[in-house]
Point group: C2
Chain length 460, copies 2
């Protein structure tokens, strides 16, 4: 696959909600053609992505509701702001058998269940998809999610990552440390399914979790699924540098991405990993026109559909600030950025122009787009690639079926330019997604990853 | 569907494990043809059940490992005693799109996750299957499951049911009480997806759970999935009488079933429900022969494959007694039955013959079977029906693909006799499974069910 060395990786960025990608309007004429509750619509959508050789579909997720704006969930409910939502792991399973190569990145936060039960669900998904899943590790920023999941209140930022780190450690121990390779023997004649001496209790006793026992599922193709993360704060970036295999970089332009990538590579080395141990993804929406003018017109139509209330509801929740209480036209640079969370904080700190207003930041991030002809889109994507970006989390602001325009008109151009793969690499998601990098991986996390230290050497 | 008034309902009883049905040997020549990790095998299996008009596939589940026997998990691991296991909700989702009418009964215990997250997963499954799921409510009897899921130790029997009851209450409130009917408006023109004034926080604050918020999924076809339960202790039966819509009756013969059914009907009335509000299922394995002699021979072959170690490992765990520490040939009647748990306690208390030994009880329950010609099998099933049984949880001791013999040779006979449906009833699982009873249900639990009291009348 040497021809793919310079390729970009493509995930379609959506969620198990009426509108799909963030910023998209559920009532867009294209959007209403897609019924997110109908599994047959998802199957058709996944087939289109697979035919176009997309690497994966990426399911964002929030366990709660965006209820910071005006102190209420009313806008989120009325305007379907990533709401109502279904469970992305369930949707991933539903799409397992209709696809053969497409990967599935499901988001799951570490407060929704115990790591012991979660690890079994993850093994199940990896088995049923033959090793095609990736886990986007989420530490929920929604107070309502924490409060409904048995916590008095949301933990502070540092504690959230501390808890997430222990959750990951338990999952690493279960998936990598409990079953030695070769423990499953399936000896029919002697009626031995697995060798108990090669299955080990993990004996984890930590601050947040106590898991003395063994993992109850046998090792799946990847054991630990490929790990995505999107931490943008300082502690979030350190967390990613230690644990992630791919991260989502928040940047409004290639220069901003280059800066974050460079920072992350320094952090990787501080974690005894290689700078090539992490794939960098950026997110953008795509609007395709057969001429530049058509693309501009379609982009203007999207803008006309956009609800500023919906954007503010989403922005308030992800920024952690009730935007109804502040002057939206004041520059972000004048605000105390420590009060902001998530990607908005990263933008406010790294924005090319500190004079951007809150209104501009919210719209700029949520509806960030490349609008143009196939050639123009390819040109823009090449600029991201030149900045060190490995992949694109691509969305369409007109609902998931909007991808059909992209697959028909843009994918051939990208493939001609070597920007997108023409064939899938054989193997698991980890093998497919890292193919063509200087650090192509096998089925399992590499030896520098912290999960690897829990592996047991098989006794002779 | 008047011709179906006297029909029995058929679930295939299995689990997401190498051997499938309890008691089956994974290394049976038929069993090894079925790879439980291969979704395509499950799809083929589900298609066979659907072609034969089975009502559902029933996934048993244990979150832990059977480690009571000899104080170790060694036998369970070595002999694949319902182990290793995957998550049945994940498997259910994987089979959603390849089937149209088949139901899915997934077991899920109430200690594996928070009810808020569980409720979303349940709504997701009910949406993706178009209302074809049922939940078998399990209160885990495995100490190892509790210890790995964040509890210091297993709760005592009464506390387990108290906790389960509160878990159910939260699920009822979320699925029935949070969204009024009509809350989802999907008004494209005015960009109103749902009416926030019709979506309500449940404000649950109890002993075990605090869930102040709203349910984040919109109502699915059944809202609350059809509820199975298998409680056999006194408190288990009361729990079922209050909450279940179908129960699994442990009985070795029709007279035993009649006794339990009568007892349950009394309890139903004490819970202000009708005696017809509960469907009664019994479990049995089937061995088919074209002659009686062939059936007897095949049954003997199964016995030859059976591992007594595997049966004892399973029996020890489900009885709550390490059977390696007691005289297996002593009569069950001499044992303090209070020390026993689960179906074995019910048997020990209700067994036709108190002189049965532990060895006989374990084998008798786990490998209970009807072996015979299609006509003989039909005769035996008619005896169960005459005892008031509504449905059969049917297994095959040679692995899931053993069902092909049953569907080919026995189903036509059962359909001719009116013992099995020839066509599916339209609608959700609840409508399908209750069709033909004196109390056929709609999509939702009926008004006498405790979940119904959380419904909100839509404001005019």
């Amino acid at each position: 696959m040497t021809g793919d060395a310079g390729r970009l990786r493509f995930c379609y960025f959506t969620s198990f909600t009426p509108a799909g990608p963030p910023g998209a309007q559920w009532n867009n004429p294209d959007g209403v053609k897609f019924n997110y509750l109908d599994v047959d619509h998802w199957i058709k959508f996944a087939a289109a992505l697979e035919a176009a050789k997309f690497d994966a579909v990426f399911f964002a997720d929030h366990s709660g509701v965006h209820d910071v704006y005006q102190g209420s969930y009313a806008t989120a409910v009325r305007e379907a702001v990533q709401f109502p939502s279904g469970d992305p792991m369930t949707l991933t399973a539903a799409l397992a058998s209709s696809t053969r190569d497409l990967g599935f990145v499901f988001s799951a936060n570490v407060i929704q269940e115990q790591p012991y039960a979660f690890a079994r669900r993850v093994s199940s998904l990896d088995h049923l998809t033959r090793g095609r899943v990736a886990w986007n590790v989420v530490t929920s920023f929604q107070r309502s999610a924490w409060q409904n999941l048995g916590f008095d209140d949301m933990a502070n930022h540092a504690d959230r990552y501390e808890r997430a780190e222990e959750f990951l450690t338990v999952v690493y121990k279960l998936l990598e440390g409990s079953w030695e390779e070769g423990a499953v023997v399936r000896d029919e004649v002697n009626a031995i399914y697995a060798d108990p001496s090669k299955v080990h209790p993990i004996e984890h006793r930590g601050k947040h979790f106590s898991v003395p026992g063994i993992h109850v599922s046998e090792p799946s193709p990847q054991r630990l699924p490929f790990l995505f993360q999107a931490g943008s704060s300082d502690s979030g970036r350190d967390f990613s540098a230690r644990n992630a295999e791919s991260i989502f970089v928040t940047a409004l332009n290639p220069a901003g991405a280059r800066k974050t990538i460079s920072d992350m590579q320094t952090r990787l080395e501080a974690s005894s990993r290689l700078s090539s141990d992490l794939l960098f993804f950026i997110g953008t929406n795509i609007i395709v026109g057969s001429t530049e003018e058509e693309a501009r017109r379609k982009s203007a139509e999207v803008d006309e559909m956009l609800s500023s209330e919906a954007l503010l509801a989403f922005g308030s929740s992800t920024m952690g600030v009730d935007l109804s209480q502040i002057d939206l036209d004041s520059p972000v640079g004048e605000f105390k950025t420590e009060a902001l969370q998530g990607q908005f904080r990263a933008i406010a700190e790294a924005a090319p122009d500190k004079s951007w207003t809150f209104r501009e930041v919210v719209k700029g991030i949520l509806t960030k787009r490349i609008a143009g002809t196939p050639e123009q889109i390819a040109d823009r994507l090449e600029e991201w690639r030149a900045a060190g970006v490995h992949g694109i989390n691509l969305g369409t602001l007109t609902g998931p079926f909007g991808i059909l325009e992209f697959t028909e008109h843009v994918v051939p151009t990208l493939q001609e330019r070597g920007l997108m793969q023409r064939e899938y690499t054989q193997g698991t998601f980890r093998e497919k997604i890292t193919a063509g990098t200087s650090n192509a991986a096998g089925r399992w996390v590499n030896d520098r990853h912290p999960a690897a230290r829990f592996r047991r050497v098989t006794k002779p």
